[in-house]
């Protein structure tokens, strides 16, 4: 049991770390190419400078994303050998496809990053386009694997519980992929867009009010604000599908105790056996959201066998509310930008707007993590919904807590290193303009005589 807890914490921690970088892998290429395209079309040196700087930052993030992703691949086997043994033949199909996308992404990333000087401008631009597609394809293949864990299908078991037949199409296009995949891709665009915009908003608040900062904020912010309303629509669809197919998860995050119609929607509060405490309740709304009528019956936790109920319902409930709350707030931020832009063709000038943008990035990351907590913790005690319990899947190896501690320390170092390197790069750009291309991770080789290690 103790091992199980350690393994779950380790999995959750490493996934949470990776997913932030993966979000950049999904969305950063597109945002860079928008700047690149604007720069080429309008002969805009600032836009080109942004594209170029961002591509160098992407190199660092991609490297960290690649190593943390490799760790995840090891972890599947190291932490959950029974799960992989039993279901690798079904679950693995999506990951096999992922390989193609990551490979292609890594290749074109290298071409794009190192191609700035010697490739012709448009050839260079086009060398970046495959990354946009591979980012989306990579997200599809990984997230559809997770969707399969939530709504498994496309396999037959024999009496001993071994997978004897598989239907790859059914595995890939399971009932959950249709909302999980777009939800994650949009989350990638929101996280990347708002975080980038945050950085330039902070710079602007500190008095750097040049055109570069304006453009650096406007391009990613626009992308993220366009994604926000679509994201809410997709999330709403997801919630209804979860209520349908994973009633225990839904009851967990909405804290529904008794099955029945006219369920109250609670915002915030603490989930107890006798209902939500300290929340704002809106009568009938929960039933209405699930079935567009206050008479819709929603399954309550009490109807679910005790050993199949998700743990930590307060965590689930607050994570869900946090995600929805942040999603709504970010939508409003987009509305603010849209109104001011429509009336004045300009970014809202008040410091309050800049402050809101400055925290929007962290908020988007929080929503991303909250969503994954809802999905993963809400599925417990199952690793494969209705098929295999997480407790059956876990390794018997000892020392997982030790590994967990080591990984936390290692990742703190990794995260700190990445942030320091990115900050050093930005400081250097500010100090020296763009003359010093020799100083980025994959940048051009150093002139001989300067290298040292």
């Amino acid at each position: 049991m103790n091992n199980l807890l350690a393994a779950r914490e380790l999995m959750a921690f490493t996934l949470a770390f990776h997913i932030v970088l993966a979000s950049f892998g999904i969305a950063f290429p597109a945002i860079i190419l928008i700047a690149n395209w604007l720069g080429l079309k309008r002969d805009d040196a600032d836009a080109l400078r942004l594209a170029r700087r961002w591509s160098k930052a992407m190199a660092v993030m991609f490297a960290v994303g690649a190593v943390t992703g490799t760790v995840l691949s090891f972890e599947f086997g190291l932490l959950w050998p029974r799960f992989m043994e039993r279901y690798g033949d079904a679950f693995g199909i999506a990951f096999a496809i992922e390989g193609i996308f990551f490979f292609t992404e890594a290749i074109f990333l290298a071409i794009y990053i190192y191609g700035w000087k010697r490739l012709s401008p448009w050839a260079h631009f086009w060398s970046g386009v495959p990354m946009v597609i591979t980012g989306i394809g990579g997200a599809f293949s990984v997230v559809t694997a997770n969707a399969w864990m939530n709504q498994p299908q496309g396999f037959t078991l024999d009496a001993a519980g071994r997978v004897v037949e598989t239907e790859p199409f059914k595995v890939l296009f399971n009932p959950a992929w249709g909302y999980e995949v777009p939800h994650m891709i949009l989350a990638g665009y929101m996280v990347t867009g708002f975080l980038l915009a945050s950085i330039y908003a902070v710079g602007t608040l500190r008095g750097r009010r040049d055109r570069l900062h304006r453009l650096g904020m406007l391009i990613p912010l626009t992308v993220a604000c366009i994604a926000a309303p679509i994201q809410i629509f997709v999330g709403d669809t997801a919630a209804r599908a979860v209520a349908d197919h994973q009633p225990a998860k839904f009851a967990g995050f909405e804290c529904v105790q008794e099955t029945g119609p006219n369920q109250t929607e609670y915002v915030g509060g603490i989930c107890t056996d006798s209902g939500v405490k300290g929340a704002i309740g809106i009568p009938d709304l929960d039933s209405y959201l699930v079935g567009f009528s206050s008479g819709t019956v929603v399954t309550g936790l009490k109807q679910i066998p005790a050993d199949e109920r998700p743990p930590a319902n307060t965590l689930l409930h607050l994570s869900f509310d946090g995600m929805v709350g942040i999603g709504t707030a970010l939508l409003l931020l987009g509305v603010w930008l849209a109104i001011v832009w429509w009336r004045r063709r300009d970014i809202p000038g008040t410091a309050w707007f800049l402050r809101a943008v400055a925290i929007s990035g962290a908020a988007a990351v929080a929503a991303l993590w909250a969503g994954w907590i809802v999905t993963e913790v809400g599925r417990q005690p199952w690793i494969v919904q209705g098929q295999m319990r997480t407790a059956e899947a876990v390794t018997r190896a000892g020392g997982i807590w030790f590994a967990f501690a080591a990984v936390v320390l290692l990742y703190i170092g990794l995260g700190t290193g990445a942030v320091l390197v990115l900050r050093a790069m930005s400081r250097r750009w500010r100090a020296e303009g763009d003359g010093d291309d020799a100083e980025t991770p994959y940048g051009p080789a150093e002139p001989i005589g300067e290298a040292s290690s």
Binding site: I93, I107, F108
Partner: protein, 332 residues
């Protein structure tokens, strides 16, 4: 050939490509590690960095490929290996994180001490990672992984043959890297570095050859099944590897350069396939056969389709990347 055999061949193709490209990549780190003090090691380090930089990331996706094919096509073997050899596997994963971070960060750091620390991290983990991967392969070949997993965490790999295989991995990577660096230095018209790496390629080649011979002796005592097959069905590959290796050494010793790379690569590829032939038809000798561990047919079909798609999409892209690198178009 059954579908399961086809999947095993795909797995081995992945292993071969990782041995060559990943191996050379690790080898670059090895030469970085022993290049000496900051001043003396300056030029070789710069050469190594220049050669590795654009292809570093792509070289390592082969590892992901191997893991994914293994767990999809042969889930039982994957579970057994992971639940037995988790110690060296976790250490290899640790090495991958440190290496990637060290490599990516070191150029961007200005403070000299920090930068040296990053460079050292990169170099040390370049040696440890292939070493632990080698112990995993050695333990599998020696038949130390039970089919239903949960073998002993230490005695399965802390043994002469796995440890020797680890050393062989390091030596082979160093050898390949030095051979590639000879060619790169020559391409860049740097005669001094060409000689520098040629001497090292010769030394590493001799070391790898010697380790391989000791390995055969150990195989005889510790992994009889593999030894018997290697000296029967696998004999042509052993001979091929020896011939390629000797010819490459002769070229290095006499200053010849034509055909050096293909010969060195050929020697390594023949060893990888020799290992495969030696194990056949077992995935885990002698407890789990390829056919017993294989996933259902449609899954194996998808692995094959994905592999063909990868060949169509990835290989040309990879070719483009290597071509652009060779033409120095990606140097900025």
């Amino acid at each position: 050939m059954t579908k399961a055999d086809v999947a095993a061949v795909i797995l081995w193709i992945g292993a071969t490509l990782y041995a060559v490209f990943g191996g050379a990549d690790f080898g670059g780190g090895f030469w970085d590690l022993i290049a000496g003090g900051a001043e003396r090691g300056e030029r070789p380090r710069a050469r190594i960095q220049r050669s590795l930089t654009p292809v570093w990331e792509a070289n390592h996706v082969w590892l992901i490929f191997i893991l994914v094919v293994l767990w999809t096509a042969f889930p039982d073997a994957f579970g057994a290996i992971m639940s037995t050899l988790y110690v060296p596997l976790a250490l290899a994963a640790l090495g991958i994180v440190l290496r990637g971070a060290g490599f990516a960060f070191r150029k961007s750091i200005r403070r000299l001490e920090l930068r040296r620390a990053m460079g050292a991290t990169f170099a040390i983990s370049s040696v440890l990672t292939p070493f632990f991967m080698g112990t995993v392969v050695g333990a599998i070949a020696a038949g130390n992984v039970p089919a239903d997993g949960n073998g002993d965490a230490f005695s399965t790999w802390i043994q002469p043959l796995p440890i020797l295989t680890g050393a062989l991995f390091v030596a082979t990577g160093a050898y390949l890297a030095a051979v590639f660096l000879v060619a790169d230095s020559r391409g860049a018209g740097d005669g001094e570095m060409e000689g520098y790496f040629a001497r090292r390629a010769l030394a590493a080649g001799l070391a790898a050859g010697a380790l391989a011979v000791v390995g055969l002796v150990l195989l005889h005592s510790e992994a009889r099944y593999a030894y018997d097959r290697l000296t029967a069905e696998g004999l042509p590959l052993v001979i091929l590897s020896a011939l390629c290796g000797l010819a490459a050494l002769a070229l290095l010793a006499t200053g010849g350069r034509r055909g050096l790379r293909p010969l060195a690569v050929g020697a390594v590829v023949a060893v990888v396939w020799g290992w495969g032939v030696a194990q056949f038809p077992y995935l885990l000798p002698t407890s789990l056969k390829i056919s017993q561990s294989a996933a259902p047919g449609p899954t194996l079909d998808s692995v094959l389709i994905v592999f063909l798609a990868a060949a169509v999409v990835v290989l040309p892209s990879l070719g483009l990347l290597y071509w652009l690198t060779q033409r120095q178009l990606l140097d900025e």
